[in-house]
Symmetry: C2
Subunit: 272 residues, 2 copies
Amino acid sequence: MTQNFDAMRQQSRDDVRAHIRCGAYSDHTSGLAQGFLQANLVILDKEFALDFMRFCQRNPKPCPLVGVTDTGSPFMKTLGADIDIRSDVPSYNIYRNGVLTNSIGDINDLWTDRMVGFALGCSFTFEHALISAGIAVWHMEHNRTVPMFRTTIETTPAGPFSGPMVVSMRAIDRDKIDLVRDISAQFPLAHGKPVHCGNPADIGIADIAVPDWGDPSPVDAGQVPVFWACGVTPQAAIMRAKPPLCITHKPGQMLITDVPEDAEVPIVTTAA
Amino acid sequence: MTQNFDAMRQQSRDDVRAHIRCGAYSDHTSGLAQGFLQANLVILDKEFALDFMRFCQRNPKPCPLVGVTDTGSPFMKTLGADIDIRSDVPSYNIYRNGVLTNSIGDINDLWTDRMVGFALGCSFTFEHALISAGIAVWHMEHNRTVPMFRTTIETTPAGPFSGPMVVSMRAIDRDKIDLVRDISAQFPLAHGKPVHCGNPADIGIADIAVPDWGDPSPVDAGQVPVFWACGVTPQAAIMRAKPPLCITHKPGQMLITDVPEDAEVPIVTTAA
């Protein structure tokens, strides 16, 4: 039975993931399974794996690496006892030669023993901390996906991977900017401090009302647009690198892990 | 002209590295070029690079990855404008088939275009923060190398890399333990919080006076031995994995980078 977002909010982490795995839920995961790390997902052929890991290491703000599978293994053992990256995000984006061709609910038919999966930390972690500190986050209150934009900030290249940093935007009351910066700085595996506050044009965003991914979000009087490095950045890099096949989560629809959001390191177990 | 430690303490970061590069200084780097990140170094054939990066990602406390070269490039561009890992640590340990065969001053003659260099964060970063907070660190005050021990704490394996975590030990006054924990927690790229405080036998250390690497350090009355995950851990893993050739820094004699110790991310430049 297909589940809607409000029904999923009431469910446990295991139940949410079970609904996602069987295809019964295919919407965004912001606000679900609260208290646990969620992750962006990138799956590539092993030929690209070392360069992609270098790209993540060199760009830790947009690409904070929190998990990597063994080559050919669909199980992200360090992030949970039963995480199958072939089925455990709500929707997958399929890129062929750098072009987004379609979105599908699972990738069981595409999986091969040459594939490596990468999990990258996600802004949901610090959003929960912001909300706990009494800071309103519009897209969460309105059940939307955060607006995301390509910028003129360049990433540090690695092999075929390069290109612009993608950022997410949250409108913050002017007198809360310092607090928001201090809170998000505590989460280096969830993009850390903002990369920019203020004029969107300074980082090459032409129209704040027209995001490249996600839903538009208003910036009210007395608010400042605040921009964080975003885990969709590798999707932009992959569009430039043009690997024959790359699979990612659909933006906003993340991998839910068993790692508590406040864990010192993103590891649940000494995976044998 | 050969330089001694006290002479080196007075010198700038560039001068220290120049003396190391030309072979004029070959002792430990603790306390040198203060304010800048120092790093453990591991160099492997590209055949092992992906598994070694996985090992680091899965064991971020002993192996906090702060830099990776391109395959075949001896330049660690993201950590400094002019860092040549063939010559820029004071002494190198050479492991053949997992056995430490010798230590040498540079590796120019061993370098090949199949090699990948990895830099891992180092405890010197949080030691400086401890000293700034008025906490005595015995081995620094006495110009020794921190004592390091193999433990019974298992790392999370990746490919051929596995085995015991190596820890470093500092004796801390009992009433300063919480402060020390809080300070070191602020440096996730420098091993973060301690992995153990108290009885060495709890983590398999038979004799605190006989370290596996480094120099013995006393634990006075009123002090507690405090153990941090150590960047020598990969050397123990390499001894088990037995790659045909692996090159590391000699423990205590680190790679000095251009990255400030308090940088949010370990990147100096968008290396082109």
